[in-house]
Every structure is written in C-alpha cells, then in structure tokens.
C-alpha cells in the first residue's frame, strides 16, 4: 500500500493550521466582549493573558483540587448529564469519547505513516511507527475499531431515542444532528479502510481480529473477486483521514464549536463559580 507522505504532511499541516486559526478567531470574538467588571479598556492580547493568568493562578492555588475535580466530573465523565438522563449520557459519552479517541488515534496513525521510511505502511522502524503506523498493531487496531463502534453505537441510540421521543424539541437541533451524520459517514469510510487494509496486507486472523468490525468487513469484501485491494485501501485511507481532519479543523468555525469549547467553559465556570 503506497502512500504519498508529503501529501499526508500537507493535509495534516493545513488542517492543524485551520483548526488553530479557528480557535484564535473564536477567541478573538470572545475577547471583544466586556471584562467581568463591565469595562473594556484593555486590549485583547492583554485580556487574553489576564484570563490565562487567572487560569494558571487557580491551577496552582488551593482551588486546584476543585478545578481538577471539575475537569474530570464535567469535562471527562459529564457527571451532570449522567444525573439527568442515563440514556443521554450513554449517547454523549459514546459519541464524544468515540470521536475524541478516533481523532487522536487517526492523527497518530497518519503521523506515523507520514514519518515511516519508504513511503509505505509497514511495521518496521522506530517504536511509534511500529505501534501506530499499521493496523496490524493490536493497540491501534483495537482503539481504531472500538472508537468507531462507539460513535456508531451512540448515533444509533440517538436515532432510536429521537424516534421514541414524543416532544421532538427535546432532541438536539436538526442542524446539530448533521454532525452525527457526518461523523458516522467518516466512521464508515474508516471501517472500509480497515477492511480493505486487511485484504491488501493479507493480514492473518490473529492480528486482524483485534479490529473485529474491520475484520468482519474484510471477510465480506473478500467475497468480491478480482480486485487489487492496495489502491482501494489507500483511497479509503486518504478519504477517511482527509474528511476527519477537515471536520475537526472546521469545528471552531461553525455550530459544532461546543465540542471543543463546551468542556473548556464547563471547567472555567466551575473555577469562577459564585458561592451563594
């Protein structure tokens, strides 16, 4: 399976830059607002550093315990959602953590392939290329497969919940549902990459089974005769990676920005929460 490493670096670089610009753009909007006290005399840069200072000051103060607790309870475990509705919590945890793990493992996979010697997917070279550079590695295979199963599982429960919901307004907005559709589409493309990868590399069952969904898909796709799977796998690899990175890069610009800013605001507000 031949991959153009320079193209991968370009895709990764452009998406990373776009994401950072989006983040800065969004923050520049926030910093156009007033200070908490009501004045707006300081420039945006000074105010940014003032907020950063407040964060660091809290992080290294007696309140750090509260901050860390909030980070886990609100940002990681989404405790308040669990208390509210276990079903919604499952949907959210599956989709949020599924997407987060999928994005992380995909980026590591892309970097490892881009950094691997010889423009090819292989299990040779330094440890990070051996671990993340191929789906034949157990860790990469498991995380890649389970994270996407979590996404699709979460999306499935969300659809069932929506169909059973009497008051449709209690579900997320239609425009927000598009995020679930896009993510699910990317996950399916990535499953196809897994399946075709195993076929292209002729991966033994002992290794491929660590990505169960991808392996089952490879068995099904294997029934189609006369196909050279290497270029197909490369195509699915490029498509899934490019779409995933593009989606992630555009998050700060659009209506899905809560995916990034929700946990940040949850922790920040806990930090400055007024004590009644």
């Amino acid at each position: 399976m031949i991959i153009s490493q320079s193209l991968l670096w370009v895709i990764f670089g452009v998406c990373l830059l776009t994401f950072c610009l989006g983040f800065i753009y969004r923050m520049s909007i926030w910093l156009q607002g007033e200070d908490e006290g009501g004045s707006r005399k300081r420039c945006r840069t000074r105010r940014f550093f003032s907020y950063l200072g407040l964060f660091l000051k809290t992080l290294f103060s007696k309140r750090s315990g509260k901050l860390i607790k909030s980070f886990f309870a609100d940002g990681i475990v989404h405790g308040s959602l669990f208390r509210d509705s276990i079903l919604k919590w499952f949907i959210h945890i599956f989709m949020f953590w599924g997407l987060a793990s999928f994005t992380l493992i995909s980026i590591l996979h892309l970097i490892a392939i881009a950094a691997a010697p010889g423009n090819a997917v292989s299990a040779a070279g330094p440890w990070y290329i051996m671990v993340f550079g191929t789906l034949e590695n157990r860790l990469t295979a498991i995380v890649m497969d389970l994270s996407k199963l979590a996404i699709l599982g979460g999306a499935f429960i969300a659809v069932v919940r929506f169909l059973l919901l009497k008051s449709k307004y209690k579900s997320v907005e239609l425009k927000d549902k598009s995020a679930g559709v896009i993510i699910s589409f990317i996950a399916i493309l990535s499953f196809l990459y897994e399946g075709t990868f195993f076929l292209a590399m002729d991966t033994p069952v002992g290794k491929a089974a660590f990505a169960p969904a991808g392996y089952i898909l490879s068995l099904i796709l294997g029934l189609i005769p006369g196909i050279n799977w290497a270029p197909v796998a490369a195509g699915f690899f490029y498509a899934s990676m490019a779409l995933l990175l593009l989606f992630a890069a555009l998050i700060p610009f659009g209506r899905y920005s809560h995916m990034v800013f929700g946990p940040i605001v949850a922790v920040y507000n806990k930090m400055i929460q007024k004590a009644h």
Binding site: Y25, R26, I29, W30, L31, Q32, G33, E34, D35, E36, G38, R40, R47, Y51, D74, H78, S80, L81, D84, S85, K88, S167, Y169, K170, S171, V172, E173, D176, R255, S257, H258, F261, G262, P263, I264, V265, A266, Y268, N269, K270, I272, Q273, H276
Partner: protein, 403 residues
C-alpha cells in the same frame, strides 16, 4: 443591534452551549406556554446567530446586521423569562444562564427593544419611589390594623433591626398580612426594630431585573445611606427579591459600604428561635414549603425555612416533588405577570398541581409574590389548601394556646 455589552465569558458560553435541550423541561416559561421560541435553548441559538452577525468576520465584510424581526424575537424571549434560573441548575456545562438573561434584558433596554409596560413601571418608580400607583407616604398604612402600635408607627431614628417591608407588602392589600405578622412576631419577641416609613424606597429589583441597570443605582444608594444612619445591626427583609438585592446586588454594584448585616426574615426568625426568644407552640397540620427563586436558587437559603417549620410541634412537613434548588417558579418572577398575565397564570397552575399532589393542608412560602400567585392558582383549581407566608404560620404557632 449591538451585543457589545456581553462579556468575554458570556460570549464563550454562547459558543459552548450544546443546545442539548435539557433546559426545556425545566423552563417554567416554556412549560407554561409550550412556545419553544422562548425556551433557553432557542434563546441561545438566537444569541449565537446574533453574535455571529455582530462579531463574525464574514458579517463584518458583508456588513450584515440583525434584522428588526430578529431583534424583536430576541426581546420577546428575553422578557418572557421568569428569571427563576432553574435552567442554570441542570446545565451540563455550567453556563451562568441567569447572568446572561439579565444582560440580554440590559441590551434590549439599551436598544429600545422592550415591552412598553416597562416604561410605565420605570416612570412610576422614578416618581413615587415604589411600584404601586400610591404615593410613598402611604408606606406604613398597612400597620394601622396591628394591635398595640406606638404613635411613631415604629418609624424610629435608631434601632437594632430595620425591617425593610418592600413595595408589594406595603401597598398590596392582599399581602398586608405578611408585614403585620412580622410586626406582631417582633412585638412578642421584644425585638428593637424600626421601619423606614416613607424613607423606604423600592429596592430597585423591578428596574434591575428588567434591564434598567443604571436607574436602580439611585435607589440602592439612597436605601443603604438611610439604613446606615439608623446604626442598625441587622436589616431584615420579608421579600426574597429585596433580600437578594440587598445581600448580593447592592454590594456588587455600588460603592456605598453597608454597616449592618442583611438577613431574610426566615434567617432572623430562626435565630430568634435558637436564642429562645420565640416559643413555637403546637400546630397540627400537614405543611409543605415552596422555595421562592430569589431566596433559594438565587440566594442559597434552603435550610432556615425548613428548620423553622420542623421546629413547630405537631407539624407534618412534606416536601414538594420539586424542592430546594430544583423548585419550579410560581409564575410571579421576572416581571412576567405584568408583561404576560396568561403565561404567569399557566405557570402558577403547574405549581398548584404540584402542591395539591402533596396532600398538604397548608403551603407556606417566604415571598409575598409567591403567596399571591399560588393562592390565586389554588383557588382557580378549587383547592382547599391554604397558601400563606411562613411568617403568618409562625405567628399562628406562637399565638396558639398551650396544651
């Protein structure tokens, strides 16, 4: 429209809202109207669009602005809110929603996009210093029916406790029983207290909560200076909104120092009970308690009213299904009653159903507005449950015959 008054945190919060819809079930205004456009979720969505139109790069390049219709829709949603802050309690990302709704009203006032009736209330307050149509000289007229009142009607130069009666209790005959009960309790407990008489100005809550954030300062400063003159140790209020203004908003928004502690009447009465100055006697009734939004969620006072009720021998206390920080609004908050009486009545009807389900004989609360709305709603549903202020119930207890 200019959203320049939003602060950095609020702009970030608007971006962070997941529009999960969790707040829909909790919003009294939505439950009372089933109009999704006034729900917190929709307000956030409208705000997100507004922020993008005001600050967004593309909008700046294309010189896009919010349309009149969009502004009117935001204004309608902003002023249909009861400001109960129930949505804030269960927000998964801890958004300070009440701050945001209040700021939104301020913005609407600055932009001239607010219900006309607000102007009437504002002018009335500026002229007469109270929310009723009466002159401020009638502030202590309610006290005439209290037995054993001195000639000065308890308007003294110096006292240990200042009782800040509030506009509704001072001028609305339906609620006169509340200040009368308090005066009688004070008499029985031998409290050295004073009223401010016509020197008592509205606490400014109607102005502040309607978005007239600058107008209320004059009221705050006058009241603080006047109470400081008395050398009082405590300022006691029976209205939770007055209490919230005195205890939270005044210190935050004014520079005038307060030389006294601010207590809500339930806190002060509980203090008197603990000190043995009030002897509570047997009242055999099944009683529930409704947490007023400005006392409970917005000021954090939940324990004292319950402790008082539980301290009365013979009382069987039963909680409402939504109590404490999860209590729902009675429909009387956020000036909604004057803007949309039907919505207020619908919200109160939901509250009344919840009260009836407890099977209580009496529903107590600590707010004259809640007593009014709940009593009316219970009457409409032909319920025999009596709605009273906790002070009335305490007076009943201390006046009861010994076994």
């Amino acid at each position: 429209m200019k959203l320049g008054k939003l602060n950095t945190r609020q702009l970030a919060e608007i971006d962070a809202c997941t529009r999960c819809g969790n707040c829909l079930d909790l919003c009294s205004a939505y439950q009372g109207s089933k109009d999704v456009s006034i729900s917190p979720k929709k307000k956030m969505e409208k705000l997100k669009n507004a922020v993008n139109k005001e600050y967004g790069l593309i909008s700046k390049l294309l010189k896009r602005e919010l349309t009149k219709e969009e502004m009117e829709a935001i204004s309608h949603a902003a002023f249909a809110c009861t400001m109960c802050s129930r949505c804030e309690v269960d927000c998964h990302i801890n958004i300070n929603l009440q701050d945001l709704w209040l700021k939104l009203r301020e913005i609407m006032v600055d932009e001239g996009q607010y219900p006309e009736i607000m102007d009437m209330m504002r002018n009335r307050l500026k002229q007469s210093r109270n929310v009723s149509f009466d002159t401020n000289e009638g502030r202590t007229d309610w006290i005439k029916q209290v037995p054993g009142i001195p000639e000065d009607r308890y308007v003294k130069d110096k006292a240990e406790v200042i009782y800040f009666v509030g506009c509704v209790s001072s001028f609305s005959p339906r609620t006169f029983k509340i200040p009368r009960s308090i005066v009688q309790i004070f008499q029985k407990a031998d409290v050295d207290f004073s009223l401010l008489g016509d020197d008592e100005w509205c606490c400014g809550f109607p102005l502040f909560s309607s978005g007239f954030s600058k107008d209320f300062l004059e009221f705050a400063e006058h009241n603080i200076k006047r109470v400081n003159k008395t050398g009082a140790k405590y300022l006691v209020t029976s209205c939770p909104s007055c209490y919230h203004m005195w205890s939270h908003t005044y210190p935050e928004k004014t520079d005038v120092k307060m030389g006294f502690d601010v207590l809500h009447i339930v806190q002060y009465l509980y203090m008197l009970v603990k000190e043995g100055k009030l002897k509570l006697k047997k009242v055999e009734k099944k009683v529930t308690f409704h947490d007023p939004c400005d006392l409970g969620r917005n000021s954090g006072i939940y324990e004292e009213p319950r402790n008082l009720l539980k301290a009365i021998p013979g009382v069987e206390f039963v909680e409402l299904s939504n109590s404490g920080e999860y209590a729902t609004c009675c429909g009387g908050g956020g000036n909604v009653e004057s803007i949309d009486a039907e919505l207020s009545s619908n919200i109160a009807a939901i509250k009344a159903k919840e009260i009836i389900e407890t099977g209580a004989d009496v529903v107590t609360t600590s707010c004259q507005q809640c007593v009014r709305t709940i009593a009316t709603a219970l009457k409409k549903q032909k319920s025999k449950i009596k709605a009273v202020d906790l002070t009335q119930f305490i007076l009943e207890s201390i006046s009861a015959e010994e076994d």
